[in-house]
C-alpha cells in the first residue's frame, strides 16, 4: 500500500523473535505502542518505509507454533491462527465449499506471491476500508481472539474494526486467531468486489444463503465493505427473507434496505454516488446468484 512515497529504507528498530507465547506477550506488555507485530509484514514494512509507523521494536511472531493453527471443527466452526498465510487458506478444503465467500475473497487479494506471506489477521488488524478480509468474516459471525498477559478474550468482528486503521486491540494485546462460526447446513456463500485499477476495493459484498426455496427456513445474510470506514452486515434483511412473498419482490425490497443502510464516503478511489450505485449492482448480483432468480 503506498500513495507515492519515495522512501526506500526502513527506520531503525530492534528485531525480536520470541520463542514462546509468554515471552511475546511480556514484550508487548512492556513496550506497548512502541512494539509492532510482524507476521507477513506486507502492511507493516510498507507503512514503515513511508514512516507512517515507526516502532522501536518489531516482534516477529512466526516462531510461535500455536499461531499456525488451521482447524475445521465441523459444527463448532473454523479457527485460523495469526500466522497462517493466504495460500495455506486457499489450499484448505473447508474453504472450497462451506466457507466459500472467504475463499473467493482471498483468491482475488493481491497476488499469489504476496499470498505466501500475507495473513488474514494482518488484513483485519490493518483495518483499512479497501482491505477485503473483514467483509466475508462478517457473514460467518467471526470473532477475533486476542491474548495478553492478563488472559484471552474474543471480540466480534463488527466490534473489532472501529474506524480507519483503528481496532479494538489494546496496545498490549496480540490477535492470535480468528474464529468463524459454521454456516447453516447446505448454505452457499460468495464474495464480489468492484475495484480500482490499483486493485483496492471500491465496494465489496459477501453474502450467504441456505434453503433459498423454503421461506420458513430460508437464511440470507449480506455484508459489505470498502464503501465507508467500517464494513457492515445488514441484519435488517434477514427477517425480510423469511416472508412468503415471491423471491424477486423480496430481492427488490432487500436491495433498497441495503442501499439505505449504507453511508458511502468520497475519497481518492471513488465518489459516494458511484459507491452507492456499485453497491446496488453487486447486491443484486449476489442475491440473484444465491437465490436463483
Amino acid at each position: 500500500m503506498s500513495f507515492g512515497s519515495s522512501y526506500l529504507t526502513l527506520p531503525d528498530f530492534r528485531y525480536i523473535r520470541p520463542k514462546t507465547m509468554q515471552e511475546a506477550l511480556q514484550l508487548l506488555d512492556e513496550h506497548k505502542d512502541e512494539a509492532k507485530i510482524l507476521a507477513g509484514g506486507i502492511g507493516l514494512l510498507a507503512f514503515m518505509k513511508e514512516r507512517l509507523v515507526d516502532p522501536r521494536w518489531v516482534v516477529d511472531i512466526k516462531a510461535l507454533s500455536e499461531l499456525q493453527t488451521l482447524r475445521d471443527d465441523g459444527p463448532k466452526g473454523l479457527t485460523i491462527g495469526a500466522t497462517v498465510n493466504m495460500n495455506q487458506l486457499l489450499d484448505f478444503p473447508p474453504l472450497k465449499e462451506k466457507y466459500r465467500a472467504l475463499r473467493d475473497c482471498i483468491a482475488v487479494l493481491s497476488d499469489p506471491v504476496l499470498r505466501n506471506r500475507s495473513t488474514i489477521i494482518g488484513d483485519i488488524c490493518e483495518a483499512l476500508p479497501f482491505v477485503d478480509g473483514p467483509t466475508p468474516l462478517l457473514i460467518f459471525d467471526a470473532e477475533i481472539e486476542t491474548a495478553s498477559v492478563k488472559g484471552n478474550r474474543r471480540i466480534p468482528i463488527n466490534e473489532f474494526i472501529k474506524g480507519i486503521a483503528e481496532t479494538a486491540l489494546e496496545p498490549n494485546e496480540l490477535a492470535v486467531a480468528v474464529h468463524l462460526k459454521a454456516p447453516p447446513e447446505n448454505s452457499k456463500s460468495l464474495f464480489l468486489k468492484h475495484m480500482s485499477s490499483s486493485e483496492f476495493s471500491i465496494v465489496n459484498v459477501a453474502a450467504l444463503c441456505a434453503n433459498p426455496s423454503r421461506p420458513e427456513s430460508r437464511t440470507v445474510r449480506l455484508a459489505y465493505g470498502a464503501i465507508s470506514p467500517t464494513p457492515k452486515r445488514v441484519y435488517e434483511i434477514e427477517e425480510l427473507f423469511k416472508r412468503k412473498t415471491p423471491v424477486q419482490k423480496l430481492i427488490d425490497e432487500a436491495v433498497e434496505v441495503v442501499k439505505k443502510s449504507a453511508d458511502p464516503m468520497t475519497d481518492v478511489l471513488a465518489k459516494a454516488e458511484y459507491r452507492s450505485h456499485m453497491l446496488e449492482v453487486l447486491t443484486v448480483k449476489a442475491f440473484r446468484r444465491l437465490l436463483g432468480s
Binding site: 500500500m1 503506498s2 522512501y7 526506500l8 529504507t9 526502513l10 527506520p11 531503525d12 528498530f13 530492534r14 528485531y15 510482524l38 509484514g41 506486507i42 514494512l45 510498507a46 518505509k49 518489531v58 516477529d60 512466526k62 493481491s110 497476488d111 499469489p112 506471491v113 504476496l114 505466501n116 506471506r117
Partner: protein
C-alpha cells in the same frame, strides 16, 4: 543493531553481517552480491525482487534480511548451477520471452515454482500466477508460451520415463 545471519544463498552457506532494519532485497544484492534480484517499486507491486525463500517465492522488498536467518534463498542464478540452464530458463530463451531482460529473473523464478506445484497449468492459471509481476516490455505472451511449452515437454519426458520403467 548489527548481527550476523547464516543464510544459504544458491546452495552456498554464507555468514552475512546485517542490521535489523535491512531488507532481504538489499542484503542479497549488496552483501551476497547476487544482482539478478532487482529493485523496482520497493512496495511489493512489481515482483522484480522475487526470490525463493525455502523454495517458495516471496517479494524480498517486503521481507527483513534477519528473517532469512537459518534459511535458504534461491535466485535465477541458483536455478542454473555451473551455467546449466534449468528447463524453464531454456524455454524462456527459446521463445524469446524477454526484451530488455530486467524482469526476466523474477518471472523465471515464479514460473519455476508454479511448475513445481502445478506441472500442468492452464493459460489462465499461469496468468493468475504471474499477476504479481510486471514486465514493462510486455512480453507476457511469449512468457506464457514458454511456460506452457516447458510444462508440455516435461510432462512428455516424465511419461516416457514412466513407460521405460514399466
Amino acid at each position: 543493531m548489527t548481527q550476523v545471519i547464516n543464510v544459504k544463498v544458491n546452495g552456498v552457506s554464507r555468514k552475512l553481517e546485517i542490521k535489523d532494519n535491512e531488507l532481504l532485497l538489499d542484503v542479497i544484492r549488496d552483501k551476497a552480491g547476487v544482482k539478478s534480484v532487482k529493485a523496482g517499486c520497493w512496495r511489493g507491486e512489481c515482483g522484480l525482487c522475487t526470490v525463493l525463500l525455502d523454495e517458495k517465492p516471496v517479494k524480498s522488498c517486503l521481507v527483513l534480511a534477519v528473517e532469512a536467518h537459518g534459511r535458504e534463498v534461491k535466485t535465477a542464478e541458483g536455478l542454473a548451477p555451473e551455467g546449466q540452464l534449468a528447463p524453464i530458463q531454456k524455454f524462456f530463451v527459446e521463445k524469446g520471452a524477454m526484451q530488455c531482460g530486467f524482469c526476466t529473473p523474477s518471472f523465471v523464478l515464479t514460473a519455476h515454482y508454479l511448475l513445481s506445484v502445478n506441472p500442468n497449468p492452464t493459460e489462465s492459471e499461469i496468468r493468475e500466477y504471474l499477476s504479481g509481476h510486471i514486465c514493462r516490455c510486455g512480453t507476457y505472451k511469449q512468457m506464457i508460451e514458454a511456460i506452457l511449452e516447458c510444462a508440455k515437454q516435461q510432462n512428455q519426458s516424465s511419461e516416457a520415463a514412466a513407460k521405460t520403467k514399466r
